[in-house]
């Protein structure tokens, strides 16, 4: 029953969008009515999504999708998150988020009415494309042809709270760029004033913040669920999410230039189209099954072709309009060496190069396979030695960029910065001399600390310190950059200065981790609702009274016959101690302990960046 409701409301929503699209040419009606229709179709799409969710919650196995991807003895949260834990459901989530964005956009005030309507019509067009995609190739409401009492279960690796909210968050970013795309196209068509740039700025900031959160959640999940001790693997799917992220970052920075009344409008439009194209392209790569990863659910060629078609329509249409409808001439750029505008231009160039490099590295193996029928890998080492060096000048620049002037190339207090940089270099040199030297470690620490230091100096020497909202808005760019600096320190330390210790242990053995005694207490197996668990229990720091217990082990999911590793992580502010329980050989357990310094800084940095993203949304 719920499947029927879901399907009908989905089809009905698509129908309304068809009608709205046609209304531009045939059936014209007023604004009020138009917006009502948009909202109604959004609600219908949501209804469709929630009826699928309902089917999951009540384990309605007459729905084929639920049967394939759920199981009745799963905790409620994973029944809910199971809704988007599969291809069909996640595409419906995609469509629902698209309509949520249209819904909220229809409430935007103070913008030109015909511009708003045009934007929403383009959104409708996208709604139709993705809606048809769902109906024809990925229908989540198919009826199960056999009568069953039990489902096949959700991939256990996805049964995790972090991953339950990762897709909606990430899609908030991907799909959020659809509205930026629509705004940019509508802006090109209308070409009246610059008002659309402010609107685009707000929405691109929202999308970027969502995308940041989504990527961070995904990598945090990889950190504690995959049990490899790292959090970023340059996996093709990670790269795909990184591309719109960097392009979106370039977009947000370009939109800052609007404040200086020197809009590079053409560039902004280009980036807006690029961001959404990259999002759709990413979806195509993941969903077509060309790339293999945890994200590519059942691969199906027809889906790939359909998404490729959507990609060509979106990108082709976008760039065609872009080429035909040139924005009105804006003022010439005031580029000096070095003022704010040139810093922003350099930053944009670097970000685009980084995006294109990631794109090339990600699709290169596919190209080679098609051309030469040879399998090759382009992995982390390639990206580390191309993308990171390219970004370094950008990182150096960002430390001072917010205080550069728009008009001249003078920097206030330049001596302070020079002095600070020299002192910092000396300190980092000393650090790397007395501890381990590593080129990347050196560069990363220097950059990270320099960005933070320069931003702090800038805040204290350029503005009067006040505690009110206005002040936080003014220093917001600096705060964002401090977040980046903190994240760079975390990234550098956790990857370069990671320490690994291997042990072969019996139950009851004591061992030494960085001078702290750890007891390998016992091995315990238990039966949980939907899995069996094997846990090694460790007591950390047994010499103190308040020793901490850590559990590391594996889970076995009988329904899908999969084993997942569950790392035991002891979080401290300055390091994570990461326990991995290996296999048993000759009556001894293999235990790997990783000491990851300053991992928490990465997440802290990300949170600061997201905070600034939100603050900037409110900034006008």
């Amino acid at each position: 029953m719920s499947s029927l409701v879901g399907f009908l409301s989905l089809v009905f929503a698509i129908g309304i969008n068809f009608y709205l699209f046609l209304s531009r040419y045939i059936f014209k009606f007023q604004k009020q009515k138009f917006n009502l229709f948009i909202r109604f179709s959004s609600l219908l799409t949501l209804l469709s999504f929630f009826s699928l969710m309902y089917a999951y919650v009540v384990s309605d196995f007459s729905n084929y999708n639920v049967f394939q991807n759920s199981h009745s003895n799963k905790p409620l949260i994973y029944k809910i998150s199971g809704t988007w834990g599969n291809h069909e459901g996640s595409m419906l989530l995609w469509l629902s988020i698209l309509s949520i964005f249209s819904f909220f956009f229809s409430f935007t005030k103070n913008i030109d009415e015909s511009f708003q309507r045009l934007t929403l019509i383009i959104q409708s067009l996208l709604h139709i494309l993705f809606g048809l995609f769902i109906v024809f190739t990925s229908n989540p409401f198919l009826v199960n042809s056999i009568l069953v009492n039990e489902g096949l279960g959700l991939n256990p690796i996805l049964q995790d709270p972090g991953l339950a909210i990762h897709p909606p968050m990430l899609y908030g970013g991907y799909v959020g760029y659809s509205i930026v795309f629509s705004i940019a196209i509508a802006g090109l068509f209308q070409n009246t004033d610059d008002e659309w740039l402010y609107v685009a700025k707000k929405w691109s900031l929202i999308s970027w913040t969502f995308l940041t959160g989504g990527i961070a959640l995904g990598s945090y999940w990889a950190y504690y669920e995959l049990g490899w001790g790292g959090w970023w693997f340059w996996d093709p799917v990670e790269n795909i999410s990184l591309m719109p992220w960097i392009a979106g970052l370039a977009l947000v920075h370009s939109l800052m230039m609007v404040r200086g009344e020197q809009a590079i409008k053409k560039w902004i439009v280009f980036l807006s189209i690029l961001c959404f194209s990259l999002s759709v392209f990413g979806t195509f790569l993941v969903r077509s099954g060309i790339l293999t990863s945890v994200h590519s659910f059942a691969a199906d060629a027809s889906r790939g072709i359909f998404i490729l078609l959507i990609f060509f329509i979106v990108t082709g249409f976008g760039f065609l309009v872009f080429l035909l409808k040139e924005p009105k001439k804006s003022n010439a750029l005031n580029l000096l060496f070095i003022n704010k505008v040139s810093a922003l231009v350099i930053n944009n160039i670097l970000m685009i190069i980084a995006t294109l490099t990631i794109l090339l590295g990600t699709i290169y193996p596919i190209i080679i396979e098609v051309l030469y029928n040879k399998r090759i890998s382009v992995g982390g080492p390639y990206f580390n030695s191309t993308v990171i060096p390219i970004m370094i000048p950008g990182f150096l620049l960002m430390s001072i960029a917010p205080i550069l002037s728009w008009q001249t190339n003078k920097i206030n207090n330049s001596k302070k910065y020079v002095l600070a940089f020299i002192i910092l270099s000396v300190l980092v040199i000393l650090q790397s001399y007395f501890l381990d030297f590593n080129t990347w470690g050196f560069v990363g620490l220097l950059l990270g600390f320099w960005i933070i230091l320069a931003s702090v100096i800038a805040i204290f020497s350029s503005y009067k310190i006040k505690i009110n909202i206005k002040f936080f808005k003014i220093i917001n760019p600096h705060v964002a950059h401090i977040g980046v600096g903190i994240a760079i320190i975390g990234i550098t330390c956790s990857s370069v200065f990671q320490n690994e210790l291997d042990f072969n242990l019996n139950e009851g053995d004591k061992f030494n981790v960085n001078g702290i005694t750890v007891l390998f207490e016992k091995i315990e197996t238990t039966n949980e609702i939907n899995f069996q668990s094997l846990r090694g229990k460790f007591l950390f720091d047994i010499e103190k009274n308040q020793s901490k217990e850590i559990e590391a082990g594996k889970n076995y999911y009988p329904v899908s016959k999969m084993i997942t590793s569950e790392a035991g992580i002891l979080h401290q502010w300055n390091k994570d101690i990461y326990f991995i329980l290996g296999d048993q050989k000759n009556n001894e357990w293999f235990v790997k302990v990783l000491i990851n310094p300053f991992v928490s800084f990465i997440w802290l940095g990300v949170i600061i960046m997201m905070y600034s993203g939100l603050i900037a949304v409110y900034r006008r």
């Binding site: 040879k374 000396v426 040199i429």
Partner: protein
Amino acid sequence: MKLSRFYKFLHIIILGFVFFTLKIFAVENIDERVKKLTLELRCMTCQNQSIYDSDAEFSNDIKKIVKQKLQEGQSELDIKIFLVERYGEYILFRPLMNYNNFFLWSFPFILLIIGLFFVLIKTKRNKA
């Protein structure tokens, strides 16, 4: 800032760099070299995991082979070529810098040079 103070800093920096170079050229021990190399190799039986990070049987075998060959005095490139002959280029996370992959490796830096020229030309024109 007075000049004399500046020279003091300069001194420290130069000293620092001297110590630095000494450290850089310090001999790496065999395990570090194994780690460095196996981090750049793909575990063929896992999903996007390096041989170093993986505990699969395949990875453990390769680790042993790499260590043995390094002890025999073979260079990293020799070992890579040996592995490529056996398992194909798919095993290398860092594609070989050869004629075939010229585009892959040069692309980012060509873009960088173009970008640099663009900025230089544009900023120069506006200087006057």
